[in-house]
Amino acid sequence: MTTSRSSIPRFAGRGLNLLYLPALAVLGVFTLWPLVNGVMLSLSNWDGYSPERSFVGLENYLRLFDDPNFRTALGNTFIYGVGSTILQQVIGLGLALALDRSVRGRNVARAIIYLPVLVSPVVMGTMYYLFLSYNSGGLNDLVIALGGERTAWLSDSGAAIALIVVVNSLQFMGISMVIYLAGLQSIPTVYYEAARLDGANAAQSFRHITVPMLQPAFATSIVLNLIGGMKLFDVIQVLTAGGPGYSTHSVSTLIAKMYFGSQRAGYASAMGVVLFLIIAVFTLLLNTMLNRRRLEQL
């Protein structure tokens, strides 16, 4: 930031603030008001379409914690978040380290690894669904060729949860890779030269220069992946739609199911409020914990 707070130019009177009113109006109507209204709906027994609804206090919230389906969805939400975060950090950092060197074809490799980021997650899920399908899927062809048995990959909840994590991680690991590449490129090479002159080996340089210097990149990538994984919706909808039973739902998919599938709008609103609070608390906690420095320059 180059401008000091005191140097407000003379022409910038209070009237200048009018310029943000249109944006605030759009955000107020389409984001903030739904957020507030969601809290009010969560205290009602509204079914989503009838004009009547009555105030039920905290009943929806109390019911949430006795609802085994919600508890499963909440647990899955953390699995999707934490699982994706771990996978993407490991692969993303590994690929960044590999592709930071001058190897032939690295630009092509980067571009291809990044490519799935641009595909709609629901379309990516569809493409993986083809690959995982029982009768015609390529994965089963491979398993059979190796002497295994035809498997219904998405009918087993454990396997389905793992596959959802893998599909989500593969699609978005390009973002982590690129964040780490940017981080690696911002480390001055003189540090490595100095370390080498002092007799440090590659492992020592990595531990004492690369890792600490990548701190902001770690923070950015971890927060982004964790929040992304905990919001997960599209991939689950297309791969399992929450099934078998309710075993692979995330809170997001369960909200849609309760609202459009079971006409429990008040209950779904309560889930929405809880989801928002969890994500907000996690974001704030992580940001403080990782002592995140903002990379505000472009």
């Binding site: 943000y20 955000l27 571009a111 379309v123 090479t189 849609a256 994500i279 472009l298």
Partner: protein, 283 residues
Amino acid sequence: MSAASVRPAVRAPWPGRLAIGAGVLVAVLLQLLPFYITVTSAMKARSDLSSQWLPRLTGIHWQNFATAIEQGGILRAIGNSAIVTLGATVLVCVLGALAAYPLARRSTLSNRLVLAGVVGLIMIPPLSILVPLYSMMSQWHAINTYWGMILVMTATQLPLAIFLYTAFMRALPVSIEEAASVDGASAVQVLFRVVVPMLTPVTATVVILTSVNVWNDYALSVYLMRSPEMRTIAPATATFFSTTSSDVGAAAAASLLSVLPVLVVYLVLQRYFIKGMVAGSEK
């Protein structure tokens, strides 16, 4: 760049280099796998039961694409997505740049609070406001309308755009604006004649992020654009797939058609894409 700033060639011993190369190759192949499977599936007729691994080199079953277009309405959906994406992107850039100017140049306590509040909106998961948003939109008869969808998408993308524009404008030297002001330009003239022309790099980032996010949106579009004529591309592909999942070839063709526009733009603007996405993720 001088030679001194070039990264030292720390060369790993050859078994290490081979392992690294193999690892990268596996990652690349893994990322190409879903596309490859989809292409080979789209080539085959429903009666063709050969493995997805094997491409069909002769007698490609073009009927799959015709089915996707006729029954899935994929072209119509691409048109709908283009309208919504264009509308939302223009609105996000205009409203975002306008909003950022006072936030960047008048750092009063209230303006800093406004900016913090706006940036805080980035973390709202779309599904957490689905119920109130949907009921509000249906009261306003805004379901299945371009204007409704454009405004909702604008609201989801504005916070990040405002954040990026504000950060960029703060880094611009204020002295140019002051000089223009001294020469008698009004605040509005300064904004449009002096500031806006300097915004091209950050606008490129905002355009890329917004258009990719809006084009690919499913979570809200699938509920707000429900009628077959108004469906946007991501829900159209998913809906077509779930209703014709026995017709693997046509579903694969629909997926390919929906990815194609993004793919073409990516190939042309690849460098800007990655740069822009990184800038956007470092929020």
